[in-house]
């Protein structure tokens, strides 16, 4: 099992059991202040080191993004964007990408394997690899395009928010490594309050649209951003403006399941009732006689 106790599980994929409610848990959050990030990638290195992951060495493809995308061994990635504001000033937007730890996780909603994805009561969404069957449904469920399936073991991987560290009272590795204080970790209420101060500060410096990214479409997230342009999150390397679980996924994982089961059961019941009412359609002796007549060329 995971590093938390079962008492700490709030949601469990593909499961109907009631989760334990007896303990009061403060929600945690990681706050990424994009305006204070210098793009040093210390968080990426710390993530690799703590989780003991080494990606293959790739190729330079004309971008500071290194590697080029999230992958099974890269759970967090600095994404660099050169953006011109309406006045023509160049801004270098740097966003640390990774799992947002949604309050309403699309991955968990889509997962068919009991207990392969759990949400702890503190808000962390974790993949329990031993239960993962590698179907890729989490990839379809995620509104942020985060999970990656490994071709080595056919399991899904993503940021754990260092659930193993948090479980023993430590902050995530990326937070510990950040040299500018751009990544902070604490209770969600503390982080929201601190973000409020940061947003005020940014506004006083001319970033009128500064704000906190904690999208309501997924019930809020446990990784939040302070953005200087919170009105257009998508300029930060495609951060979704209004993320939510796709209606297609909701149809497939929501209404479709009971309707399908009821529909099939109904079809079988109709068959049974027909059998009760009409009974079997049996060949009668006179059918046999007339059939043989035809076969023997005595056309009736």
């Amino acid at each position: 099992m995971a590093d938390f106790q079962s008492l700490d599980v709030l949601r469990r994929s593909a499961s109907t059991e009631t989760t334990p409610q007896i303990r009061a848990h403060p929600e945690v959050a990681k706050l990424i202040d994009v305006s204070r990030c210098i793009g040093c990638k210390a968080c990426q290195a710390a993530c690799m080191e703590w989780n003991d992951l080494r990606d293959d060495v790739g190729y330079f493809e004309g971008s500071y993004n290194n590697p080029g995308d999230l992958d099974p061994s890269t759970w967090t990635l600095m994404r660099f964007t050169e953006w011109e504001d309406p006045k023509g000033n160049l801004e270098w937007l740097i966003r640390k990408d990774g799992c947002m730890h949604c309050a309403e996780p699309g991955c968990l909603e889509a997962c068919p394997s009991p207990g392969a994805i759990v949400q702890y009561a503190n808000g962390i969404v974790d993949f329990i690899s031993e239960n993962c069957i590698g179907c890729g449904y989490c990839v379809k469920g995620c509104p942020f395009n985060i999970p990656r399936i490994s071709q080595a073991d056919h399991k899904a991987y993503k940021c754990t928010l260092c659930s193993d560290r948090v479980a023993v009272g430590m902050e995530p590795a990326c937070v510990k490594a950040c040299p500018t204080g751009a990544i902070l970790f604490g209770t969600k209420s503390d982080m929201t309050a601190w973000a409020g101060e940061r947003v005020e500060d940014l506004k006083s410096r001319g970033f009128d649209e500064a704000g906190l990214y904690d999208p309501a479409g997924v019930g809020g997230t446990h990784v939040m951003y302070v953005l200087h342009h919170a009105d257009t999150p998508s300029i930060y390397a495609g951060l979704p403006d209004q993320p939510s679980i796709s209606p297609v996924v909701q149809a497939w994982k929501g209404v479709m399941k009971p309707i399908a089961m009821a529909g099939l059961a109904f079809t079988a019941v109709v068959g049974f009732v027909h059998w009760m009412v009409a009974g079997p359609n049996e060949v009668q002796p006179e059918d046999e006689a007339r059939g043989r007549d035809v076969l023997n060329e005595k056309q009736p």
């Binding site: 068919p112 996924v249 059939g291 035809v294 076969l295």
Partner: protein, 213 residues
């Protein structure tokens, strides 16, 4: 093949084998697919050696089913072309369901209900294979967007539920119309069965026999 007197050959041995291979695969696909569709049915993955094995083998079942069904399609398609009488037969479906076929038009090798099952199966298998390829991540992940994969997954599950429904109808009809199952197990049907359910086909077969074909 020597056949008992008073019977008609309906399916060759190869056709029957072809049918039952397809049938077995459809059942394996339904079980493994339902296991991944509804959490309450996840226990069915135990039949296939666990979740990962189920995930891995399901698309291979599908691939083999497609190949098997293509042969079945080539074998049966020309007998399933829609005719004017089929529409009339559907018009008298109420009396057919009440086990009274005398008032329906005489039926050839297949009745309209069987033809509808055939074409539904054909259409749904094509939909299932096409959408299944899109979500077969092991080999085809890079070739579609996540939006397309979501859509394919929905199409795949809707089509799968539909084909299981068609399968229930197909199996029920075979059990309800007595003497039909042996057509597909032993390959022969009685003259009485043919007279009652496929009279036009009986006349044609008798004519072919008389003219020495």
């Amino acid at each position: 093949m020597r056949q008992p007197p008073g019977t008609l050959a309906r399916y060759t041995t190869v056709a029957r084998l072809n049918h039952w291979i397809t049938a077995a695969l459809l059942i394996l696909l339904a079980l493994s697919g339902m296991a991944l569709f509804h959490p309450s049915l996840f226990f069915l993955t135990n039949l296939f050696g666990g979740g990962s094995y189920t995930r891995a083998i399901h698309p291979w079942f599908g691939t083999v089913l497609l190949l098997s069904f293509v042969l079945l399609f080539i074998r049966f398609a020309r007998h399933n072309l829609w005719e004017r009488d089929d529409t009339r037969w559907i018009g008298s479906i109420r009396s057919v369901l009440a086990n009274d076929e005398e008032h329906a038009p005489e039926v050839g090798r297949y009745n309209a209900g069987q033809k509808l099952v055939f074409w539904s199966m054909t259409l749904l298998i094509l939909m299932l294979f096409a959408s299944g390829i899109v979500v077969w991540d092991t080999y085809f992940f890079p070739y579609s967007t996540i939006g397309q994969k979501r859509f394919a997954q929905l199409v795949h599950s809707v089509a799968a539920v539909a084909i299981i429904g068609i399968w229930i109808v197909h199996v029920y009809a075979a059990l309800w119309v007595r003497g039909s199952v042996q057509a597909m197990t032993r390959g022969v049907v009685s003259a009485g069965w043919s007279w009652r359910h496929h009279r036009k086909w009986l006349r044609e077969t008798a004519h072919h026999r008389a003219t020495g074909e």
